[in-house]
Symmetry: C2
Subunit: 257 residues, 2 copies
């Protein structure tokens, strides 16, 4: 399996066609997996925003006050408002804002980025990353004939472990997870590990070669990944009622208040 | 960057030298990263155990009762005892046992595996995965002269997202994380993403090619990964006082009781 950065992409601007830009910079083949950073997907979709676009509600001011009190950090109430508007639920408001985006991803600040945004204060995550992945996949096929998979990625922190790693926000042409249920070990015992989140692992692999900052490239190409003859599933985000940690955080923050 | 499975490894038995086995099956070069599944590291270190080795304490019987009550699942109290003995702390006891291993990794059942263990009921995680990684690295160097990095890996679930993915338990010859602090985007703004957990991403990349079950291979070779000219750090496990989710779970489970 080969993992490489796609070089030569221009700065992406609102209205750009990501599939076209990628197809021009990479020689794509059937079975390739493209890991596309959500930053360029958002830029192309015009998801730049300014703080002035958001009018802070009482809730947003309350969140900013709590973060100042708990973490000693100045948070612009308009930024808190942007997070609220981009979220289905705020699970935790301090010391940082942990939010569930409308498409189900749980991350700090609803994934709103304050760097890498020319001529704007903020970059919001794509509204529907799986739809974006499908469009890029269709666009690549139209232009090159290649049947590729597309994973729209972000980098994100996580509980328990420090540092950020690549994660999948949306995907097309591949299942999110590979199912090993029913497989057995060498002694015939059923496997403990049953469902492998391959799109997250692809996003992580891609993130090893793309880098960050002004030297970074937003697209990785993975060639030679074999999904194999397994069942697949597309549930990647735990449902609230089956997510013990989410429930605990939610109830704990209420008890704490 | 090329990611491939190391083929031809025999079933690993207590007392085996993992470095020797890997060096015989792969043509290693300076800069290679070996992702070695903790299962074979544990097997070589004799970390197989039987349920009869554990005498269930009151706490273990209590955990088994709670899991039966909350999740409707029969859990052998001796298994709960094994988890207790392998753990620094039990963060959550039901509907599943979420534990902190003595080396800091937070995972269900302290990572104890009930599959892939010939002639034993259980396979415990390595006691000190970073020490194991260092020994494998030194052993490879001694046998082949190659200066490789070693990541001892596991597959593990995680909060918020379904499915399992590869994670690093221990590492040698590479920093756990790559530091992007001080780097700037194309507009000169400081990056939001600062610390990248590269060993977890390497583990995830390796897991894409190794597979599970009787067709799986326990070692992946990653060639061509460039850490680059960045600062590095080896903190991968959040300290308890800085881990909001861990605190919340701990306090929530007390409130719930």
């Amino acid at each position: 399996m080969d993992v490489s950065a796609v070089e030569g992409l221009p700065e992406v601007r609102p209205g750009d066609d990501v599939a076209e830009l990628v197809a021009e910079c990479a020689d794509l083949q059937d079975g390739d997996v493209l890991c596309v950073a959500s930053t360029i997907v958002s830029k192309a979709a015009g998801r730049q925003a300014d703080l002035d676009d958001f009018e802070a509600s009482d809730r947003a001011r309350d969140i900013a006050d709590r973060i100042a009190a708990v973490a000693g950090e100045e948070k612009d109430p308009r930024f808190a408002q942007a997070v609220i508007e981009e979220s289905e639920e705020i699970i935790l408001d301090a010391p940082f804002i942990l939010a569930v985006t409308h498409f189900g991803h749980i991350t700090v600040n609803a994934g709103i980025d304050r760097s890498n945004v020319p001529d704007a204060d903020l970059l919001l995550l794509p509204e529907d990353p799986t739809d974006c992945a499908e469009r890029i996949r269709a666009g690549v096929r139209e232009r090159t004939g290649a049947d590729v998979a597309v994973v729209v990625t972000d980098t994100s922190g996580r509980p328990f472990r420090l540092g950020q790693r690549g994660v999948a926000l949306g995907w097309a042409g591949i299942h999110a997870a590979r199912d090993w249920r029913g497989e057995h070990d060498r002694d015939g015992r059923e496997l403990g590990v049953t469902v492998q989140a391959v799109v997250d692992e692809l996003a992580a692999a891609g993130n090893l070669v793309t880098g960050e900052g002004d030297g970074g490239t937003p697209v990785a190409l993975i060639r030679g990944f074999e999904f194999g003859d397994h069942g697949g599933s597309d549930d990647l985000y735990r449902s609230p009622e089956k997510d013990v940690v989410r429930q605990a955080l939610r109830e704990w923050s209420h008890v704490r208040d």
